[in-house]
Symmetry: C2
Subunit: 72 residues, 2 copies
């Protein structure tokens, strides 16, 4: 249990971030994301940064991508 953790990496420009949840197998795992859902698609009249939820093949949420670039 001790090595299960949450972690976030932000790119240099500070406009893209990736959050790894405890069940994420790590970056060196290509193809681990089986399904991606945007908050826009599941929340009516969503307001906020573009956020994508990453699910693995078992349907478990393993990570999130944040696109923070400002539209204004």
């Amino acid at each position: 249990m001790a090595d299960r953790k949450i972690d976030m990496v932000v790119n240099e420009d500070g406009d893209v971030a990736y959050l790894s949840l405890p069940d994420h197998p790590g970056k060196g795992s290509p193809g681990v994301v089986a399904k991606q859902i945007s908050l826009h698609s599941i929340i009516k009249e969503y307001k906020g940064p573009e956020i994508y939820l990453d699910f693995d093949k078992n349907g478990v949420l393993i990570g999130m991508e944040f696109l923070l670039e400002q539209a204004d």
Copy 2:
């Protein structure tokens, strides 16, 4: 724009994390969260950590709370 950023704080036990989005006014702003929605309530058969989305009074997503304690 430069001071707008994403930030995450994890508690000592590593089982609770709070993510502040760029529009979050900061910790010293009591009552800033007007609405809280759990992913469980908006995603059918959601599997993953308990996650709450925090919206301000304008309906903008400003933060997320992650409850990571392992049920197993």
